[in-house]
Symmetry: C2
Subunit: 213 residues, 2 copies
DNA sequence: AGGTAAACGAAAGCCGAGTTGCATTAGAGT
DNA sequence: ACTCTAATGCAACTCGGCTTTCGTTTACCT
């Protein structure tokens, strides 16, 4: 019970550790099998009851292999998170109206949170980020990337004169995302369509009034 | 490693468990000693490295006593959280202007988050809420109580005609709190005064426009 | 095709968290 | 004060996660 997210610093991409010298063949197959098994186990029994032994069994791999390459359970999850975030995101909405685009983005965010693939890992990472700097950094990487991927919505609104020129696009996205995550993580509710529409309205209103510069 | 926040359902206030029949004297002293030791250990070594043995040693209590009364480490933290949240909150700001009041409340929220007493436990509870329904429920209790304690700010604004009559006071508070928590937990930053002022402006603007009804 | 060593699998051992039984202490009521 | 028993301390025990060792497989280079 002593190490909750104490990943050895060689976790994600070690240096001279197993998996680096011969990244192909069996090594690659095992990596994929373990990550798949980890995701499946997480979805099935939850984070708390997920143990390395089960992942190893499901992946058809020896526990010692996992411990050597990932250190512990959280090392696997970290690797899983970094792998999943590397996947491309869906196309951005572009209707020519900021509020409509933001509402669509809001729905997309909720959809991602609900997905067993990304949403699950993201929630776990969120929880771990409170407890350990390494998870914190990984989460930051993901969040920053998401904002970068979506802030085009606000940039286009600025370009067509819908928003003040000095508007910070990232701030617009964060203003939309904040209440969604607040609902999801803090109050533990899934925002409904009315909520998402309102969140989009608030963000749009604030941006139009030059509050997000 | 199998049980991260699997508190037995008898955790906070059991039924026929130790601590219920003779709540005074040694029982009370031990309870206080354990909770104090838990808080001190958490602040010192962090959540991950906090173990029951250390808490027991610091409290001058046998580990078996803790296991019998709290079940496990998270049971202690849960009890700690419920105890801390029972403490009275600071007086509400009442300047006669909604935006000013909200800005003051925003500062108060950040101050609480930064306090080693409440902030630390609250963070841990946030993390745990993602993983277990019991922690989720405790967190909801705390959040609901906080909103109830502070929504007077919005109610007064409605009363003096600064906001539409159908405004939902709780929604105003949540609109202010959401970006603060987003900063704190998701991006991992401490909001500065400019941020808090902006959050207050956005919430005020949205409420005035009747978006929070 | 052959050689080298990285990566793996199996099994044994270690270590510490968590549990339990029993003797002792000390609340709470009489 | 006296009694009863809840609550505790102590210590032995169990159990499972994690580590280590060693022989085997196999990816990669020549």
């Amino acid at each position: 019970m002593q190490a909750e997210f104490h990943l050895h610093s060689e976790s994600a991409t070690p240096e001279g550790a197993p998996g680096t010298h011969r990244p192909g063949g069996r090594t690659a197959r095992n990596r994929e099998a373990v990550l798949d098994a980890a995701l499946a186990t997480l979805a099935e029994v939850g984070y708390a009851d997920t143990c390395v032994q089960d992942i190893a069994t499901r992946a058809g791999v020896a526990p010692s292999t996992i411990y050597r390459r990932w250190g512990n359970r959280d090392g696997i999850i970290l690797d899983l998170a970094l792998t999943l975030v590397a996947e491309p995101v869906a196309a951005l909405p572009d209707t020519g109206d900021l509020e409509t685009d933001l509402a669509a983005l809001a729905h997309a965010i909720v959809e991602v949170m609900q997905s067993p693939r990304i949403g699950l890992v993201q929630s776990i990472l969120f929880a771990a980020a409170v407890q350990t700097p390494t998870a914190r950094q990984t989460l930051n990487t993901i969040i920053t990337r998401r904002v970068e991927d979506t802030k085009g919505i606000a940039e286009r609104a600025v370009a067509r004169g819908e928003l003040p020129a000095d508007t910070d696009p990232a701030r617009v996205i964060n203003t939309l995302a904040a209440p969604i995550y607040h609902r999801w993580f803090i109050t533990g509710e899934t925002p409904d369509t009315d909520d998402l529409t309102r969140f989009a309205k608030v963000a749009t209103l604030a941006a139009r009034h030059g509050l997000l510069s």
